[in-house]
């Protein structure tokens, strides 16, 4: 995490104006304290956290319990994200922001709209508010995620509901196709433009 360092300037200023130098030191300390407390960086971007070690998922009925094991060194305000999709490629996953918690109990429908049982695939990662997200860890093997099947009430076969398309999270695209972004990988998300929107500068 890069901190604000005004020492070069405050030393020079102190020769002429001790009060101003002292005030700048206070501002510098306050900004750095605030950055540390919030898990952000006043200069640039903090490093992404180390990957979590493990993701476990347990199912009973239409309730799934996902827990994250993370033994990495951390600073305060670490955030965790849980993602699930109905296909193993996580093309447009649904994102659960766990906050600073490492576990979440979620309810999912057993079947799609047509009554066909759905497979769910899970993955998770961590992120500081202004960092890039960590590497994602999948429930199962990374190249072959383990499908999870909800166990709806046997008498009626479980809930039928195909989930709506994901709309992503943070500064990721609104079509849900940028999974694994958490808060976002970029500070700003520009307005959606056609690709190759670089045209002529005529008429400006």
């Amino acid at each position: 995490m890069s901190l604000l360092d005004l020492s070069k300037h405050t030393q020079a200023i102190q020769v002429r104006d001790r009060e101003t130098a002292a005030a700048l030191r206070l501002v510098e300390n306050a900004i750095n304290h605030m950055a540390k407390s919030s898990g952000s960086s006043p200069i640039g971007e903090p490093s992404a956290p180390s990957p979590i070690q493990q993701l476990d998922v347990k199912v009973s009925g239409e309730t799934a319990h996902a827990t994250i094991t993370d033994n990495s060194p951390l600073t305060r305000n670490i955030h965790y994200f849980l993602e699930y999709a109905t296909e193993p490629q996580f093309l447009a996953p649904h994102i659960e922001h766990l906050g600073t918690s490492r576990g979440r109990i979620i309810n999912l429908p057993t079947n799609g709209d047509d009554g066909t049982p759905q497979n769910y695939y899970f993955r998770a990662y961590s992120q500081y508010p202004s960092s890039k997200p960590s590497e994602k860890v999948t429930f199962g093997q990374s190249h072959a995620p383990t499908p999870v099947v909800m166990q709806g009430v046997p008498t009626n076969g479980g809930t039928n509901m195909t989930l709506l398309p994901s709309t992503g999270s943070g500064t990721a695209a609104g079509n849900g196709q940028q999974g694994g972004f958490g808060f976002g990988k970029f500070q700003n998300r520009p307005a959606v433009l056609p690709k190759r929107s670089v045209g002529t500068n005529a008429g400006r």
């Binding site: 200069i43 640039g44 971007e45 296909e87 193993p88 490629q89 996580f90 093309l91 447009a92 202004s130 990374s142 190249h143 072959a144 695209a173 079509n175 196709q177 940028q178 999974g179 990988k185 970029f186 500070q187 700003n188 998300r189 520009p190 433009l193 056609p194 690709k195 190759r196 929107s197 670089v198 045209g199 002529t200 500068n201 005529a202 008429g203 400006r204």
Partner: protein, 1310 residues
């Protein structure tokens, strides 16, 4: 007086205090002294400047009397003949790229010897034709019997009729050689031949100089002359020698560059707009370039079904010593195969490697492959039985086990594996030991044909032996294969396909093939008849096979770029450690699985391709990767679909790029996805069996046009994104020619860039082509069907990349040639291209290599909408022709108005096209277009836009997020930029702004702050730096900026500043020498003028002809420089001068440019480019008494002795009125004759007094020089000057005897 100040033009000469000067030029200052400025010495000698030695790229021979030259394995050309002339040997294509400065001589070095009784007379001739025909420009010589190297010609030897530069630069230039024997058998041996060309110095100005220091401290100097040649000096290894580096810059251009990421980045301009392509790196490639002009073609590799029945899975048999089946020669469990020290290496010596009767008694097992698995089984009860199991082979070959015979009988074939435990000492059988081994490599046979290829992933499901269930990678197709179709034809119902093997095995008669991508012949249902599915091969001959196509018409042979896949049924894979066995092993070996066996009707299980490619709509684009690592903008996209049955994507029509492209990348979207990714390298994922391998989507060459990629969408999305902020290739632009570049925050910032319509496709023709081996139409362009499209093709451009070449071979003038077009309506993303209500112009870089310019003909650009019945109802919106009469054999930029906005409807017709063709081209005439750009007429240059690259990716400029629009308060052009205090400052013509790196944001979001709304800079070279301060020259004056407001430091010479020819103010150059504390400002100053009354007539200079030099010695800070003008008012209110102050002098050195250049000793010297058209670069040398032979006209004029306050101070001795100047004494030294003038009352009197005979100066001066005057007046200016090539002076003290006028202190009249 011992204080000598600089020029102070703003105060009337008669009012100047002691120490200030009303007039001086070509002098320099010390504290307490003034002296003639340093002379100019040339830095580089152009004498004997040579290109080469260069060696031949090709050659040949002309036999005589059936005698021929032959080449030995060592590469020596030799011939033996009896009498008369030997056969002729010739060499050419020496690869010269000489500048147009001319050639002074040619030197040929030839090495060889002869054998025979008499040395034959050897003849060497220059040639200019590719057939080796001599020009008759010959030299004769004689070889010796031992190898010698002879040198013919030299730096000034023109060989009687020297060839022109253009001819030497052609491949045809070379030499031919033969010898004449005096009638006896003679042999000649030629080892090598090389040519050097000596280059003329040229008559050019030097417009730009720059030092480039590599990371390893290797230093280079680049010099651009007005001829358009960039020269390079290797300062580290060969200082003082200039070698031509880039010869394709247009004449009379300038440059601005930056060193960044260990490369030099050079922008070429006329100082107001970019003129030549920007270049960088060791290859001087273009900074950024267009991407592929056309998308790839993609199809999912579907087989119709992806499930097959398994007939069988078999594995290699168990093996042992062939001489003693069931045993091994020996076994060793130790540290290595040749020691019995304890270790974990188990070595199986499976056969003897001894030789009998010249042959090995047993051959090594060719199936053993390091990295694959092997099962080892020692006999029950043997000492190694506990190690039985399956291992990965770690080594294989032959070795001699410890204790074995020392001769070759002791050597044995062996392989090793690694055990878990470590052995004890001497764990060795020392004899035959019972045992067998078996490799795990498996062969699977399917119940029906498949198109599997090496690398395909398969999944076995429901096998009869459950352990085989799993996912594996195919290693090899035993039958079946993939082929590239290179040509097709059809005769009498038999279609013939020419092919090359891509993978697998060759087809045979009866093979089942599926063919796609052919375009020859008639089309049915949108596809060529040569595209067939599951057709049976009729016959195979060499590299062709045939298929019966009864009833089809004959089709002539044509080149193809198709793809064929032969279906197969037998494939190999390696299941790894846990899958091994034979049918008999079922239950015998725990943990291993015996082979499967089934039938077509009753398979032993099923197998499917492991696709991973989800079903859905996808897009793909092609990207060029250059040798600099730059990834271009993508091609337009192609949309296609994949199904759940697809496991790979077969891609064809991958654009072939210009010569600097080393690889192509195909990027895909995931199924139904909108973001593009590519996989930069193969990905291997550990698996229970063998690892799973997925292919990179990078084609690591610039030749293949087809590839098959296997991946999963999960892997794709985890790879490299190409449309993310900070790496959005879709927003990347090919930057236009720019005027300046400045590095900041690991980026490059480009300014004053040429504007253009960015979404026309491939108007530089560097976007490649599609058909390998055929230069035809540039990708993205379509042959124009409504006009003649013949005789146009791509050629390699001498400037960069490709150019488009139209040639009329005759006979007669042809009305239209080389026509092609592209849409002008919308690009691939529905973004409008030509916009209504906008005027457009074209700039085109073009030449006519044949030089036929006087017979008519032109290059035409049209904007046309054909409507429904082309071309009858076509509507021509715009047409612009560039006549051949305006072209030459060298490239130049031509511009013209193209579209007037009133001619285009407010709704641009959707079929509007841009077409290009040659019109009325005479026979033999040609046109070569390197590039063209269409731009809005009102904004040819992006004056307020500064374009920033991505971080550490300096060619990649995002046209959206990298665009800093510096138009906060005005639309003045951004002339330059500099960094100071970690901030980036932008200089406009009359204002200054700053911004700061924001690491998480792209530059378009950086905040722009105003620094000054009055002060900027006038030209791209009119600012320079000090120690954390900056000096800039603008219309108002010279300003220093140290972080606060800009402070003027030139007020004392404001009249001079105002006299500058400001129409050419953009040519001003500012250079600050922090070491010697001098500022140099090159200005175009009309002469003569009051400050240079003797200068040559030059009333309208368009390039700097004078340097305003300001000495600021002992002014160590910016604040001191700001405060220390030449005069000030003392505490008592008296106007005084002070020595440690700014001191100006006008130096008469015409020079378009100067720079501080690092020398071999590490110092930085001011190098001054000449403005006298002599191609020289000069260095200031205090020991030089002349400017390269020309006199330095140094002159210094004192203030008028003495001012009223001084006179009052001396009271009764010196009158406040008229004075008598009686005698003078000077501490002056130097060389040559000094002219001393005493100027009474006025600095330019009508009748000046000149010391008779002048003063002969010596150095050092012996004693003060004394001159009597006896002059009367109110004041007396003293003027010292030298003006001879061997003269200079240094003046440090003046003593003047002054008294009241003894005759009349007042004149008594007005």
């Amino acid at each position: 007086m011992n204080m000598f100040g600089g020029l102070c033009a703003e105060i009337a000469p008669t009012d100047l205090p002691e120490g200030a000067s009303p007039l001086n030029y070509d002098v320099d200052f010390d504290i307490g002294a003034v002296y003639t400025r340093a002379g100019l010495n040339p830095v580089y000698s152009f004498q004997d400047l040579a290109a080469g030695p260069k060696f031949a790229g090709s050659g040949g021979q002309i036999p005589v009397n059936n005698v021929q030259w032959t080449t030995t394995p060592a590469g020596v050309d030799t011939v033996t003949w009896l009498n008369g002339q030997s056969p002729i040997l010739w060499w050419n294509d020496f690869g010269f790229d000489l500048p147009q400065t001319g050639v002074t001589g040619i030197e040929v070095q030839i090495s060889g010897h002869y054998t025979g009784p008499v040395s034959p007379e050897c003849v060497l001739e220059l040639t200019l034709t590719t057939d080796g025909r001599g020009l008759g420009i010959a030299k004769t010589f004689f070889f010796q019997t031992n190898d010698t190297t002879l040198t013919l010609g030299g730096p000034s030897d023109t060989w009687s009729a020297i060839a022109a530069v253009n001819e030497i630069n052609t491949p045809g230039f070379g030499v031919q050689f033969y010898a004449i024997s005096p009638g006896q058998t003679t042999s000649l041996f030629i080892n090598a031949i090389a040519i050097r060309a000596f280059i003329a110095e040229g008559l050019n100005n030097v417009n730009w100089i720059k030092t480039f220091i590599e990371n390893d401290d290797s230093t280079h100097t680049f010099v651009l002359d007005s001829q358009g040649v960039v020269w390079e000096e290797d300062v580290t290894h060969n200082p003082g020698v200039l070698v031509p580096e880039i010869t394709t810059i247009y004449p009379e251009q300038f440059a601005h560059s930056a060193s960044n990421l260990n490369e030099e980045w050079i922008m070429f301009s006329d100082l107001k707009k970019g003129t030549n392509i920007p270049r960088h790196g060791t290859n001087w490639d273009r900074v950024s370039q267009v991407g592929p002009g056309a998308p790839p073609s993609c199809v999912g590799n579907a087989t119709g079904t992806n499930v097959w029945g398994i007939i069988s899975i078999t594995q290699e048999p168990r093996r042992s010593d062939p001489e003693h089946p069931g045993t091994f020669q020996d076994a060793l469990w130790s540290a290595s195969p040749t020691t019995d020290d304890p270790g974990n290496v188990l070595t199986v010596f499976y056969a003897s490697a001894r030789i009998e009767n010249g042959h090995f008694v047993s051959l090594p097992d060719a199936h053993l492959v390091v990295g694959q698995a092997v099962n080892i089984e020692f006999g029950a009860g043997t000492q190694f039985a506990s190690l039985n199991g399956t291992y990965i082979i770690t080594n294989q070959g032959f070795a001699r086990p410890p204790g074995a015979s020392e001769d070759q009988n002791g050597e044995r074939w062996m392989f090793t594996v690694q055990t878990v435990q470590t052995s004890s000492q001497n764990a060795q059988a020392h004899a035959q030991i019972a045992g067998t081994y078996q490799l795990t490599l498996a062969t699977i046979t399917l119940d029906k044909l498949a198109t599997w290829q090496a690398g395909d992933q398969i999944t076995i499901q429901g096998p009869a032996v459950g352990g085989w269930a799993g996912t594996y990678s195919i290693l090899k197709a035993i039958n079946g294969g993939q082929y590239q179709i290179t040509g097709t034809s059809l005769t009498n119902g038999i279609a013939t396909y020419d092919f090359t093997l891509v993978s697998g095995v060759l087809p045979t008669a009866g093979s089942i093939v599926t063919i796609t991508g052919c375009v020859n012949g008639p089309f049915f249902n949108g596809s060529s008849i040569f595209n067939v599915t599951n057709a049976t091969v009729n016959s195979v001959t060499g590299s062709s096979f045939t298929i019966r196509m009864a009833g089809q018409p004959n089709v002539a042979a044509a080149v193809e770029n198709g793809n064929a896949v032969e279906l197969g049924t037998v494939f190999q894979f390696d299941p790894g450690l846990s899958h091994l066995g034979l049918a008999s092993d079922l239950g015998a070996r725990p943990g291993v699985f015996p082979a499967l066996s089934g039938t077509a009707q009753n398979p032993a299980g099923t197998v499917s391709l492991t696709g991973g490619l989800g079903a859905g709509v996808r897009q793909a684009v092609t990207i060029f990767e250059t040798r600099n690592g730059y990834l271009t903008a993508p091609s337009p996209p192609v949309t296609f679909g994949t199904t759940t049955e697809d496991n790979s994507i077969v891609v064809s029509n991958i654009c072939i790029g210009p010569p600097n492209v080393i690889a192509r990348i195909v990027a895909f979207t995931p199924a139904n996805g909108g973001f593009f990714f590519y996989i930069p390298q193969d990905i291997t994922i550990p698996n229970a069996g063998q690892p799973l391998t997925y292919t990179s989507t990078r084609v690591a060459n610039n030749s293949d046009t087809q590839a098959t990629f296997t991946f999963t969408d999960g892997l794709l999305m985890a790879s490299v994104s190409i449309d993310s902020p900070g790496n959005d290739l879709f927003n990347q632009i090919e930057i236009g020619a720019s005027c300046w570049v400045v590095p900041y925050a690991a980026r490059n910032f480009y300014g004053l860039m040429n504007n253009k319509v960015a979404n026309f496709v491939n108007t530089t023709f560097d976007g490649g082509f599609l058909t390998p081996g055929q230069f035809n139409y540039p990708a993205g362009w379509t042959p124009e069907p409504n006009i003649n499209s013949n005789n146009g093709r791509l050629v390699t451009s001498p400037v960069f990349g490709f150019s488009y070449y139209i040639f009329n071979p005759g006979p007669g003038t042809v009305e239209v040639l080389g026509g092609m077009h592209q849409s002008a309506f919308q690009d691939a993303y529905q973004v409008p291209i030509i916009r209504p209500n906008t005027d457009y112009s074209i700039r085109v870089d073009v030449r006519t290599p044949a030089g036929i310019t006087n017979l008519g003909g032109q290059l035409l650009f049209d904007l046309v909408s054909y409507g429904p019945n082309p071309p009858v109802t076509g509507k021509l919106f715009a047409s612009l022709g560039f006549p051949l009469s305006a072209m030459s054999t060298q490239f130049q930029t031509l511009t013209g108005q193209f579209l007037l906005k009133g001619n285009m409807p407010l709704t641009v017709p959707s079929d509007t096209i841009l077409r290009l063709y040659a019109s009325n081209l005479p026979a033999g005439a040609d046109i070569e277009i390197d590039r063209f750009e269409i731009y809005p007429t009102r904004e040819p240059t992006l004056t307020v836009d500064v374009m920033a690259s991505y971080v550490d990716n300096l060619e990649a400029v995002d046209g959206v997020s990298g665009d800093l629009g510096i138009s906060v308060t005005n639309n003045q052009p951004v002339i330059g930029a500099f960094t100071q205090f970690d901030l980036l400052y932008f200089l406009k013509t009359a204002s200054m702004f700053s911004t700061q790196d924001s690491p998480t944001e792209e530059p378009a979001l950086w905040k722009i702050r105003e620094i000054s709304n009055k002060i900027g800079t006038i030209g791209i070279h009119s600012y320079d730096y000090g120690e954390e301060w900056m000096i800039t020259a603008c219309r108002q004056g010279v300003y220093i900026f140290s972080g606060r407001e800009p402070i003027k430091i030139s007020q004392e010479i404001q009249p001079v500043w105002d006299a500058i020819n400001w129409a050419a103010g953009y040519t001003i150059v500012v250079r600050n020498d922090v070491a010697s504390r001098r500022l140099f400002i090159h200005v175009p100053l009309p002469t003569p003028n009051p400050w240079l009354p003797e200068a040559l007539l030059n009333p309208n200079p368009t390039t700097p002809n004078v340097i305003l030099m300001m000495s600021y010695k002992e002014l160590q800070t910016a604040a001191a420089l700001e405060d220390r003008g030449p005069v000030k008012v003392s505490f008592s209110g008296k106007l005084i001068s002070w020595d440690m102050s700014r001191k100006w002098s006008l130096w008469q050195i015409p020079s378009p440019y100067s720079a501080f250049v690092r020398r071999p000793d590490g110092t930085e010297q001011l190098f001054i480019g000449n403005g006298r058209r002599n191609s020289r670069v000069y260095q200031l040398d205090q020991n030089a008494l002349s400017d390269d032979g020309l006199a330095i006209p140094g002159l210094y004029t004192t203030y008028g002795f003495i001012q009223g306050e001084e006179a009052r101070q001396y009271g009764p001795v010196v009158s406040m009125y008229r004075k008598l100047y009686k005698y003078s004494s000077y501490n002056i030294s130097g060389a040559g004759m000094l002219k001393l003038r005493a100027l009474v009352n006025d600095w330019m009197p009508t009748y000046p007094y000149e010391a008779p005979g002048g003063i002969e100066l010596t150095c050092p001066g012996d004693s003060n020089r004394e001159i009597p005057f006896n002059l009367e007046g109110q004041r007396l200016f003293l003027e010292f000057s030298t003006n001879h090539p061997e003269a200079n002076f240094r003046l440090s003290e003046i003593i003047l005897s002054i008294a009241k006028s003894p005759w009349a202190q007042v004149r008594g009249i007005n």
